[in-house]
Amino acid sequence: MGKRVGIENSIAAADAIKMANVDVVAAYPITPQTHIVEHLAELVADGELDAEFIPVESEHSAMSVCCGSVAVGARTFTCTSAQGLALMNEIVFIAASLRLPIIMILANRSLSGPLSIWNDHTDVMSVRDCGWIQVFADNGQELFDHILFAYRVGEDPNVSLPVMVNIDGFIVTHVIEAVEYWEEEQVKKYLPPFKPVNILHPDKPITMGAFGMPGIFSEAKKAQDEALIASKPHIMKAWDEMAQIVGRRYEPVETYQLEGAETAFLTMGSFSETASIAIDTLREQGKPVGQIKLRLWRPFPFDEIREAAKSIKKLIVIDRAISYGGPGGPVASEIRAALYREKNMPAIANFLCGFAGRDVTANDFIKMYEKTEELARSKKPIREEDYIFYGVRE
């Protein structure tokens, strides 16, 4: 068993990246990602990590450097948040279409405006369709584990896709937690050396990023979609092996107190832990409440969601982003689509909350539960366009 350390999660994340023995780090500083990259810069400067640290002039350049370095077979890391992600947007999509296994931590922060530095999921939802594998980690330990997982899965020759590890900015990145470090031997066993599927090398010249005429573009998109869908069994295998090596088991969809539950919260990221505290309280009061945690955002785990929700009557979906003028939150949209043809489709109450770092406490989750029960008692059907901005002042 690895050593358990009380440490800021960002520093632990940088240490995990060091343990993955990356060759290139290219990143531009942005709050709340800063501590991760700062610590990596120190590790490189101090000679503890033998890697090229490339202090690029923008996030657009950061992601461009990452594409280049993975294309020549270097294990690569980058990290950003909100506006940084927006600036690198163009290359984020290209990285996936080129099947370049770049690993990025997205320290989730609200996209401006108004200008904000605090946490929600508006940044990640802006690149929902970028073609990356996207996972959510709830705490420092999960972040540490998922950095090694990301390299293992992304670089798997059967996958060869970029992986985005989402972590809530400040709420998780800047907090000191107990994190169990992996042992070198465990990392070695779990993460083989990077052998790229495609590599730019003079001995065997290839072209990457060629022009796609209308006659081939649809086939290229179909191939990309199939590649992301086909990554799922390899994702499962990587989580299985992690469970065998370090004893922590992760699933695309995880549940808490779902046995006998009639109502369930559906959460992503650090809210999952807060919601489970509320569930404990509600369960003590005899309320049949459980929780579904969505860890794997892309490829979307349709079967697991259907299985988890099959005996739920009321599903409270928490969104930390909004599709303006649309059906509320992006997570609720996906969940409704996944459950649409189910025989016992639950009523879905969509709450939008926790924007730009506004605290949502366990007590707030209890209030959302009560509001949902009240809606259910009113017998009025909950329609798709009915979403609730929780806690907004009139």
């Binding site: 279409s97 080129l98 495609n198 010249p205 290839i206 072209t207 990023g209 060629a210 081939i216 191939a223």
Partner: protein
């Protein structure tokens, strides 16, 4: 013929024949130099025609052709390879004696 990813000699398929399963991961082009197969002549709406009575075989058209689609024939006259010639008209514009005329493809 070229050596494909599985090390098997294969006939290169044209873009229109490729199914999604034929596409290399990341749309990489693993066959170097295959841009030569690209029929840019498809883009042409006008085509250069040389008047040999006026042509002095100076080769200015050959030098200026941005696609290297002009070559010298056995008689020393220059002509366009219509597989690649896009019909840009630069050769006709630069021709010293005005011997090159751009003719509508429709004619």
């Amino acid at each position: 013929l070229f050596l494909n990813r599985k090390g098997v000699l294969a006939v290169p398929k044209s873009e229109e024949e490729l199914g999604w399963k034929d596409i290399e991961p990341g749309c990489a082009v693993s066959e170097p130099g295959n841009a030569a197969q690209y029929r840019t002549g498809d883009w042409r709406s006008i085509r250069p025609v040389w008047d040999h009575a006026k042509c002095i075989k100076c080769g200015v058209c050959y030098i200026f052709c941005p696609d290297a689609a002009i070559h010298k024939n056995e008689e020393g006259y220059f002509e366009a390879d219509l597989y690649y010639c896009k019909g840009c008209g630069i050769c006709a514009h630069e021709c010293i004696t005005g011997c090159i005329k751009m003719v509508e493809e429709a004619e």
